[in-house]
């Protein structure tokens, strides 16, 4: 492997109430153009960013949630959701968008991008990163 670095983006804010979620997504998409190893973690209120069925037509804010489904096309396919954060909010994986990517090495087989992990597993993942950016 060349000089690609492992980037982890931590998302901890709900969408719309603040600009963090949208800013993070923009940075992720920009970063993805530089062929780095990117992964995303959604913890605390950040898990709300991936809720299905968002419709902002009555609040006058751009609905950026469909953009998450484009991440797979940018080779951003390691998306970790903290189990404890989902459970604390009464949510399950079914409440979130189904994000997938196509594996070039396996005849473009469609694979899930989202992995639900425990806090302990996430802590280990953080520990292997070169750069961690928090939003």
């Amino acid at each position: 492997m060349s000089d690609a670095k492992k980037f982890m983006y931590i998302n901890r804010k709900a969408p719309y109430g603040t600009i963090y979620a949208w800013e993070s997504l923009e940075v992720v998409l920009i970063g993805a153009a530089f062929d780095q190893e990117v992964s995303l973690a959604f913890v605390d209120d950040g898990v709300y960013q991936l809720m299905k069925g968002q419709d902002t037509s009555e609040v006058g804010i751009k609905n950026f949630s469909p953009t998450y489904s484009a991440l797979g096309d940018y080779d951003v396919n390691k998306i970790y959701i903290e189990k404890e954060s989902l459970e604390a909010r009464g949510l399950t994986l079914d409440d979130l968008q189904h994000l997938v990517w196509e594996d070039e090495d396996e005849d473009w087989a469609e694979k899930d991008s989202i992995r639900v992990v425990t806090s302990a597993e996430l802590a280990e993942l953080f520990d292997t990163q070169d750069i961690v950016l928090s939003f």
């Binding site: 804010k13 709900a14 969408p15 809720m51 069925g53 419709d55 009555e58 609040v59 009464g90």
Partner: protein, 102 residues
Amino acid sequence: MSILHTVNKSTYERDTLEACVRLAAKGGSVLLIEDGVYSAMSGGNKSSVIENAKGDLSFYVLGPDIKARGLSEDRLIDGIKVIDYKGFVELTVSNDTVSAWL
């Protein structure tokens, strides 16, 4: 005197709703707006904040904000009323004052 309290923060991130509920006089109204609407969902470990207070306070949630966030009206805590912007205006004029908790 009647007060309309508005709360725009998620109770999973801030203690704003807890402070509001603690300090709001019995008979008051609490309207959840923006990220405050997450607090209106049942089944979470902070749902008890509203469950415990709904006997003393009337709770409302702004419909366009729950829709924006992909939340379902079916999963709101029992007793919370969904209102639209017109309802927000009506609540504002029917109370003596509005207190916006940040």
